[in-house]
Subunit: 333 residues, 2 copies
């Protein structure tokens, strides 16, 4: 039986707990704020795809240390650790160091996280372990502790870090393929890529632009488009900056056409309430934002490649300021 | 006796009510939210320059119509109308149309307002009246209705609109000089300029950059500088954009050196709490922001002159979004 530890049991972690449980895995979840509810009732998932009122009752622990103890008692390392917490690169302590006690010799680490350039700290901390990087578009929200709503979109895009051809005999590729089989067996959609960074950059077209914009303007995407005749032009130019950075890094399959598709999707939402992006939800909840993973790393990579990204740079410094204020208020500075 | 009507009796209007009253003018104030307090007790001003616990008891009316009636009863037009309300160009109704009932044949209109390109709607509405445009750096806040705190900086920079040489015999220049005499007689600092737009643009170096930045980041200038190593570079580049627009418009006396001085001033505040700019105060109070006057008009003028202003453009669309949200919430949209 494949043993999966989930670190970060927000909405995405819960959904994959459900999927992998359904695939017959032994799923262990580290829960903090939702511990009591999940330990008692498990997660309840209302999914537009999988069905309503679904329940999954994973084994629940309170900390990485408890998870490590559990693995020891069972006499077997975790086969996978899914890191589905928010991505805070260069945080102190690093998430890599936090999960370390539960990382066994053969544990593969799956990072289902937003942003770009988020893998290296895990690769450095665990040079002998397989690292799998994942992009998901699953729209899910934990509306109350242990209660998750999932929208009508499924799909996990995965690849090894660093990139490896899918016919490689490397252990990371084996772990990748096995994971894909499990997710598929759990009834969900999954696709393996030799280089998932292309997929990350494609998601960045949306994420690095709309996410900080909506957080700063305190609006949904549709409200922002409606606020000014220049709004769409701004988002479009920012999207082109993301494409330019990706291409400068060699990801030539990230194209202007991808940006066009993303802009068209947003325009297609005009007339609706629009999307409330995660960073805006964080601002409203006074929670830390994924500024560095989603915007800061893109701006730094742009600078390394001498790509001009004035809009991304503006979005970065402004959202960094907003985020710093949130963290200072949380720390009562 | 010179008769002065003040429209917009926030902090700046109150301070000039005090100064012009001291100069022997008959001062009439249109008060709304602070009407009861000011009608009973006048304004109380605590000034680091003029002294503490100063009182001025102008004649107080509730509306422009009441002011017009008062002028009619007295049988004399107002010599000056000071518009010291926030600047909302293209608002409906326009401020020019709102003050119209109180604008007599010989009334000069003094605009003590932030931003750029704010005069034309008054010049169009009152082609026969003298228009005086003013920039002030007076740091003042109305901390409670009728109670104003003023910091240790005084100074009013005035010029006719359109610009006229100071030795011109035009009525606007006469009105300008007379106003300068009155302000000086009231004990305050005032300087006449043949073209005050140069002074407006110089203030814009601070205003078009720090004001929306701090509103979006929800921080003081010092907090923002502290949030990221890129913060100062961002503000600096945005300041250079303002200088470039001013120069493209022919205001060659607005220079990089002016920007340097302004940046140095901000850096000099590091270690203090820093300045809370007006737009941030507006965001916190859910009040409309002067986005168009301070940023939008600059971006439009830049476009007319084909000056590239990516940072100002970003600040504009983002703060426009923020402001639109505030207005929609106020209107319960």
């Amino acid at each position: 039986m494949t043993r999966v530890l989930i670190f970060g049991t927000g909405s995405i972690g819960s959904v994959y707990a459900y999927i992998l449980d359904r695939a017959g895995c032994s799923v262990i979840c580290i829960c903090r704020s939702n511990y009591d509810v999940v330990a008692t009732n498990g997660f309840t998932i209302n999914s537009a795809i999988f069905g309503q009122n679904l329940t999954v009752r994973p084994h629940v622990v309170k900390s990485v240390e408890d998870a490590a103890t559990y693995a020891q008692e069972q006499g077997q390392d975790f086969d996978y650790i899914i890191v589905s917490s928010k991505a805070f690169p260069n945080a102190t302590p690093s998430t890599a160091s936090v999960i370390a006690p539960a990382v066994g010799k053969s544990t593969a680490i799956l990072l289902i996280q937003n942003g770009i350039a988020i893998e290296e700290e895990y690769a450095t901390a665990f040079p002998a372990n397989s690292i799998i990087s994942a992009v998901t578009y699953v729209p899910a929200t934990q509306t109350a502790p242990g209660l998750v709503t999932m929208g009508a979109l499924d799909g996990l895009e995965i690849g090894t870090y660093p990139a490896e051809p899918l016919d490689s005999a490397m252990p990371a590729v084996t772990a990748l393929k096995r994971l894909a089989e499990l997710v598929a067996a759990g009834g969900a959609t999954v696709t393996c890529y030799p280089d998932v960074q292309v997929r990350r950059w494609r998601k960045m077209i949306v994420n690095a632009t709309w996410n900080p914009t909506c957080a700063l303007a305190h609006q949904s995407d549709v409200q922002f488009m409606d606020a000014s005749p220049q709004s769409i032009e701004f988002i479009w130019d920012a999207m082109l900056e993301v494409v330019a950075v990706a291409q400068a890094l060699g990801y030539v399959d990230v194209t202007v056409k991808d940006a066009e598709q993303q802009l068209d999707r947003a325009k297609g939402r005009i007339g609706t309430k629009g999307i409330e992006f995660s960073m805006l939800a964080d601002v409203k909840g006074e929670r830390p934002m994924e500024v560095e993973a989603i915007v800061g790393n893109a701006v730094r990579l742009a600078k390394e490649k001498s790509v001009s990204t004035p809009y991304l740079s503006a979005l970065y410094v402004l959202s960094k300021g907003l985020d710093t204020g949130i963290m200072h208020r949380a720390a009562n500075i």
